[in-house]
Point group: C2
């Protein structure tokens, strides 16, 4: 019995490892088109601000480790050109054919790239991108950077390049940053960017980056799920553009699973298919796909859309739906924003801001946003957990959260926000 896993980063290696734990005798082959597996791609932006020394520091395990310790055959430079499911065959770009009994497709997503040639032009998606950009930064010592795209990568790269001392202009085609459709959140991030002397141009679409006056151009202009090869083999693509899977992470092709940035999942607040490519979700999906490919019946329930990012020192955490998205999903959103302290002033407490969104009819919590220079993780994770549990604002108000002066305030900011939101709902 042979399991072939396509893709060796977050979802792929999680799937392979989970399958091994579930079945010690399964033959497991991982095909990775790049030269490295199991690396923390989310850490790449921190190479450029010097927080991470080298990509090796981001590499969790080597192919050798997987071979020796987990009996998983990892093959690098192995790009898949086609899947012939009736024959249960993977066709590699090299022409080689490989039989599979079970397949996990964890081919990830790819960065959208401009189709123009300019030596100043970079994306940041893979280890190869990171090495190229790092060399350029060291050898050319660019002074003025243009970052195109106000999503996660764009904002992380803006922070990283400012930390290196470059002048940065950030271009974003839309009016709202971070795909949140929230003008309050966008306003707060803009304030921080401006305070960090980033020149921000919203509503500015860059069709041809060659026109930009900068020494370095980094494009974070979008991601596309890698679905084409599997779609050609007959797997269904959902409305989001990513692969449709059941909660067993199985595609419509019998014995073929998908996991990670290439596939969609259920949003547990809106109950609609959603595509939110993130490393931590990819790991969980991979776990489920791998277990099931090895004969299990594990179910991945979906996500509530939690994300966190640091922008020039400002922590931005979100979970659930924005008001805009809530309205689209048929809710009647009511929201509140509060300013509070993350802990007492005498323990270095700093300002923290929270926006909570609930449904006017049912009082169900729909989403939350947390902004602050420190201690935002606790607040966004409480919101994420409450969303998963479908809590109402009434439930949130009396949550028994931890309090002692070195850690928090007696009235946690989340409880403060919930209390004020409840008043608007009554």
């Amino acid at each position: 019995m042979r399991l072939v896993v396509v893709g060796g980063v977050a979802a792929g290696m999680s799937a392979a490892s989970a399958a091994r734990r579930a079945d010690g005798s399964l033959e497991i082959i991982v095909l990775e088109k790049g030269q490295r597996v199991s690396y923390g791609a989310c850490g790449l932006p921190y190479l450029f601000e010097g927080q991470v020394d080298s990509i090796d520091q981001l590499t969790v395990y080597t192919p050798d480790f997987f071979r020796k310790e987990r009996n998983i055959d990892v093959r690098l430079n192995a790009e898949v050109a086609a899947i012939q499911h009736p024959k249960r065959e993977v066709v590699l770009r090299s022409g080689e054919r490989l039989h599979y009994d079970k397949l996990v497709w964890a081919a990830g997503a790819r960065a959208v790239r401009w189709k123009v040639d300019d030596p100043r032009l970079f994306a940041l998606h893979t280890d190869v991108d990171a090495v190229r950009l790092q060399q350029y930064l060291e050898q050319r010592q660019p002074r003025r950077a243009a970052v195109v795209g106000g999503g996660y990568i764009g904002l992380e790269m803006t922070e990283a390049l400012r930390a290196r001392g470059l002048d940065v202009t950030l271009y974003h085609s839309g009016s709202q940053l971070l795909h949140t459709n929230d003008s309050w959140l966008t306003g707060r991030i803009l304030e921080r960017l401006q305070r960090s002397r980033v020149d921000v141009r919203l509503n500015t679409k860059i069709d041809d980056p060659r026109s930009l006056d900068a020494d370095l151009i980094v494009g974070g202009i979008g991601l596309k799920p890698n679905v084409e090869v599997l779609a050609e083999a007959g797997a269904e693509v959902g409305r989001t553009g990513a692969l449709r899977v059941t909660d067993l992470m199985e595609t419509g092709l019998h014995g073929v699973y998908a996991a990670g940035d290439c596939c969609e999942t259920t949003h547990l607040v809106s109950h609609t298919p959603t595509w939110i490519p993130l490393g931590t979700t990819a790991n969980k999906m991979g776990q489920v796909a791998g277990q099931n490919a090895a004969g299990g019946r594990e179910r991945f329930p979906g996500v509530v859309g939690t994300a966190i990012v640091r922008v020039c020192g400002l922590g931005v955490g979100t979970s659930g739906l924005s008001e805009h998205d809530a309205r689209q999903a048929g809710f009647q959103p009511v929201s509140v924003t509060i300013q509070s302290k993350d802990k007492p002033g005498y323990f270095g407490g700093r300002e923290i801001e929270i926006k909570l969104i609930a449904d006017a009819r049912t009082h169900r919590l729909l989403g939350g946003m947390v902004l602050g220079d420190q201690e935002i993780l606790a607040r966004v994770n409480v919101i994420a957990t409450a969303l998963t549990a479908r809590m109402k604002v009434e439930d949130l108000v009396y949550l028994d959260l931890a309090y002692a002066p070195p850690f928090a305030t007696a009235l946690d900011p989340v409880l403060d926000a919930a209390r004020r939101l409840l008043k608007l709902l009554d």
Copy 2:
């Protein structure tokens, strides 16, 4: 219509303020036996390590503020000697009588004190205790301290006195610290205390502190709820020794509410009455009692037993039941302990340890303990929220918690623990 509130610290001032918000025309009188209201008593230990400059820094609002801004009549040095409920009268120690229509009893708890006289002997419960101890520390410059009691106050005072450079011996009558009945947790705290060169003597009951060879003796030997006066008036005392109240925070006496450290509440995991005197709970109870005394119908659901404390730099967060308590409550506890990192090493990640406890039959999460030098708040609060939502370990495993390298690891330690616990349950 007159509301009298007895007690002016956490629960009392929350009740008075909530009543005022609910009813602008109610006459509200607060009777405080001390000389200060609305101060953060939980901050007192941090006076001695220099984190807090003076008690004034812990005072949120003055009586004057309440009088002018909230039209609440705060009377200091007003100790209540009796309640004559048939006549709706409060009798003060001074002999003065005060009519009430509604009453909120928020008289708190008192520290257990030895009935011996020794100038070296201190407790730390009120602002007066803190001032006395602060003066003694400054004037006498004691070098060797004995702290008696391994609960929250004992451990916080141990930390504070070590931070001032005193030699500290900690005596505790039981074998487990922090009322948790958990030898793993106790072991970890002991390690930290020993590393901080605290001499710890467990299973050592001090009947007469005068025998102790020390320049300073601080007793944190227990708390007793202030129930006697109200019990004499006919209010019911529960099995825990604290006042019994409904979820409206009403006692058996019509129109008489109780809130804060003097009353018990429901433990939402064991569904038994519990007495866990904590400031943040007192605030919430006070809110509910105040609103209801002003004509509302707000319900306080109970607590899951969340607590957090710093012990010589080690953060200790707990929520729910220990295995011992779970067994007593009729569950079949299964537990796991894990060691992980709170965030990636390249962002200063440090070790964090988590113990999760679940019921073998239902897989319901019963409790959790989190230990670490940083970032424990996020983890204990996720556990508290999951306990409130009665989540199973299966639900916990797929929680969509926030991940980005500056904040957390891709597999949050809570998820890591849940995953390993699930394996034990299957």
